[in-house]
Structures are given as structure tokens and as C-alpha cells.
Amino acid sequence: MIERDVDIAIIGGGPAGLSAAIAAKKSGIDNILLIERNESLGGILNQCIHEGFGIEIFGEALTGPEYMQRFIDKVEQLRIPYMLNSTVLDINRKKHITVCSPEDLIKIKAKAIVLAMGCRERTRGQICIPGTRPSGIYTAGCAQNLINLKNYMVGKRVVILGSGDIGLIMARRFKLEGAEVLAVVEILPYSSGLPRNVVQCLEDYDIPLYLSHTVVDIRGIKRVEEVVIAEVDEKRRPIKGTEKRIECDTLLLSVGLIPENELSKMAGVSLDPITNGSIVNENLETNVEGIFACGNVLHVHDLVDHVTLEAELAGESAAAFVKGELRNESNIKVTAGKGIRYALPHLISGKRDVKFSLRVTYPDRDRKIVVRDGERILKKIPRVRINPSEMIQFNIEKEYLKGVNGLTIELE
């Protein structure tokens, strides 16, 4: 067994981990260790070969691999130590980490930890789709990995459940490689993806979008042979008599992402049941001193640019913590009010500018996001368009937060 002491251990070498590492190094910490379970850095960006990354950070519409390479190059240039093919098996409140690597089992004592493990996909089993269990059922991310990285085409007649961005991107991917996409099925009455993607992934290719529908049966003994879809009512229950059979050989599931917090739970980190990510303060510190969280493991993002900025803050905070400069005075609670699904950070000090991230519960136009302390309204942020699938971020300067007892963020 190998034992190591590090100042900052960063779990996950995707966009969040990379930026946290760079920020920590730039803040003056050298003894950093970036721990990545795959064979290379970059995380999910390795397989996101489409464009749209970096518009905010670089002013360019890069592909995922191009975006990640900029940060990987920086990590190399700054000589930040990292381990590949290395999986964290265990962490505890004392920030002791057990890592399984091809070299040996490694026991690490860290002064600070940044959680950057990303998320996993919701499965067929978790949403209990009836039917058989043939081959040809894939979650979108898994199919994306197989098609873009492993050079396997998973099917040629595809039905996609879920019109979120991943489902839409994969619909286009299938069409581009010559497969048929017979339907994209969405349980909500609106698509949960960005409008740009609905246009460029569905409309461009005449792929039918069935809103307020879901998959109610899967048939096929060895391989998928057909799926049955049905319309749903306002309670999202299938309506008898509206069933439609679609012959296909593949069912692609794009039904949600879940932050991967198994390790966080081991360390005693408290989670928010709405985001499934850690409860954090304005420094992105969790309830466990010296453990920070950022990126998809904290809450699922739509733009990697936001992940990068969030991770920079986490890296800086971890560095400040190690230097003994981080003050945790965050005891003002932030509550998500009506129309707001969740708002981060959960706790603020009122003594610093804060960047809030939130999601609304339903789409609408021409609304205002209201930030108030009891009856006192601190700020109103107007928005032309709001959508649950588009994270909203805004700053509140510390001047507005003087003397605040508790914050509520809601839709007016």
C-alpha cells in the first residue's frame, strides 16, 4: 500500500476537476492530486463531439474534445499531478481517501477535497418501463460513448425517450451516421432541450416529436423489436386507447441525469433532495469542513462554461481553506420559493458578492425573478424567456445583502 499526503485532492478529471485544479494551482497550492478513473482526462467531454462549448469562456463554439484539450494542456503546462485509471473507493469525514490504481492501493490524507465526480444517467429500471429485457436498450450517454469513442453503431431504427439535450444531440448523431430515428418521445408537453437543439436536431431531419407521450411497453425476446408509446394525461399517466406501436431495433433513454454522490455520502456530506447534489455555501463548501463540490456532481449543468466558472470558485476556495484563509460565515439560508425548482448556494454570509444559480419549474415568457428578504425586495431580474432546461445565473452584490436574515428567490 502507498500512503500520500496532499493539500488538495480533486476527485474527477472532467471539466470541473480540471478547472478546479488549475484554479487551486494558480492560487498558490502545488501539492494537488487530480484523480481520474478513466484512461484519459476530459471526462464526458471526450465523447461530446458536437459543438456549442466555450461560447461564454472563449467566445468560440468549440466541440467537447477541443474545449477539454485547452484545460488539459493547461494542467500539463502547470505540471499539476494527476492519476489516470484510478478510482476512489472510499472517503471519510477526516478527508482520508482510498484510491484503487494499477500501481497499488493508495491511501491519501488530504487537507481539502474537491468533489467533481459528475453524474450518471437514469435507467430503464429506475423508471419501471414495462416489457421485456432485450438487447438494444441504451441510455443516451452510453450509446454516445459506444458510437463516438468505441466505434460501434448501436442500432439502425431508433426510438428516443426524452427530448432533453442529450436525446436531441443523439437523434442528430444517429441521422448523420445513416440510422433512422423513428420518434422522439417526451412525457412533458414541451421539449426539455434548448430550442437551438430542437431546430437543429429534430426539425432539420424531420424527426417526429411526440409531446405528452411516453413508452409503455418494450417488446422483443433477443433484441428490441418494437416499442409501444401512449399519450399521457396532466398527471403523466398513460391514457388507455392512445397506444401506438413503433417497430424499431433500439430504444434510447434520455430520461435524466443524477449527480454521482455515493462517495460524498460516505464522507458525511449532506445532500439536497431536489438537486441530488451537496448542500453548499457561497464558497461551494459542503457541510463537511474542507470538502468542496462543483460541476455536475453539485447540480446538473447545461453549459460547460458554467461548470468551468463554478469549478474555479471551488478550486480557489479549497486553496484558501488550505492556507487557513477561508472564513465560513455562511449562516443565511437561501430558499427556493414559488416557481423556482432549486437555487444555489444554499447558504451565504451576506458579506460577499454571490453568484446564484437556479432553475425554474416551468417554461414561460416575460417573467421576473425576485430576490427578497422576508417582505423586503432586494432585486428583480427580468427575463424574456425562462425554461427549466436553461440554468439561470445572476450576481447579487454584497451591498444588497447588508443585514439580510434569510433570502427567498421566487418567480413573480
Binding site: 474534445p65 484539450q69 466505434n151 448523420l176 451516421e177 430550442p195 424574456v384
Partner: protein, 123 residues
């Protein structure tokens, strides 16, 4: 003729309605800025798209290299371009920005690599 578009130029996503004839736009409404107008004009008469995909690699540490068009290409040429790149193989090592195919199918756009792929280590 009438058509509705959701403009994708900026996050506002204006719903723009266009009244047009075969070669002319008669009226545009619903856009908050001039870029929206340019967008629908292009979409109506000469729609273009950037294309991202992958190309098979010979002797690489990965079997595929991700690629993109260096600039948007006419929408109607997308599938022909896809057929074209399906028929080629590129030799490793490959670096981001390498031109895999110059001026593909006369579109003026190159196919360029978007990922680094090293030569496969012989074991």
C-alpha cells in the same frame, strides 16, 4: 407564404414570423434585433449547418477521431458529406486542427480534426 422560426442566434430565442414569396421576404415580425432578420433570411433561402462527426483512424490509440467542418455548409449537402467522410481513413498521429479533407465536395469547408489521437503503442 408564411413560416415561423425560433431564432437560435442568442438565448432570447425570439419567435419570428416571416411572410415571403419564392425569392423575397415581404415582412418579418417578432425579432428583437437585426441578427434575427439575417438568421431567418439565411434559413429560408440558403440554410447552412456546421457538421460534427468522426472519421476512422488507422494505427491510432483510438479507433475514431472527432471532426468538424471548418465553416457551415449548405444544409442539403450534409448527407453527401457524411457519405464522403465515411469512406475515408486517416493515419495517426492526428492533432486538433489537422485538415483531414480540404474543401469537401466543393463547399469551401474543410474537415478538420477536433481531437488529438496518438499513434497506437505496439505491444
Amino acid at each position: 407564404m408564411k413560416k415561423k422560426f425560433i431564432c437560435i442566434v442568442c438565448p432570447n430565442g425570439c419567435e419570428i414570423e416571416v411572410r415571403y414569396s419564392e425569392k423575397r421576404i415581404e415582412k418579418v415580425s417578432g425579432n428583437l434585433c437585426g441578427r434575427g432578420m439575417d438568421y431567418v433570411k439565411r434559413e429560408l433561402f440558403s440554410p447552412e449547418r456546421s457538421v460534427t462527426s468522426s472519421v476512422e483512424v488507422r494505427n491510432g490509440s483510438l479507433p475514431l477521431v472527432s471532426v468538424k467542418t471548418s465553416k457551415p455548409i449548405p444544409k442539403e449537402k450534409i448527407f453527401a458529406v457524411m457519405d464522403e467522410i465515411a469512406s475515408i481513413e486517416v493515419e495517426a498521429p492526428i492533432r486538433i486542427g489537422d485538415v483531414i479533407v480540404r474543401d469537401i465536395l466543393g463547399t469551401g469547408a474543410d474537415i478538420i480534426a477536433t481531437k488529438n489521437v496518438d499513434k497506437r503503442i505496439q505491444s
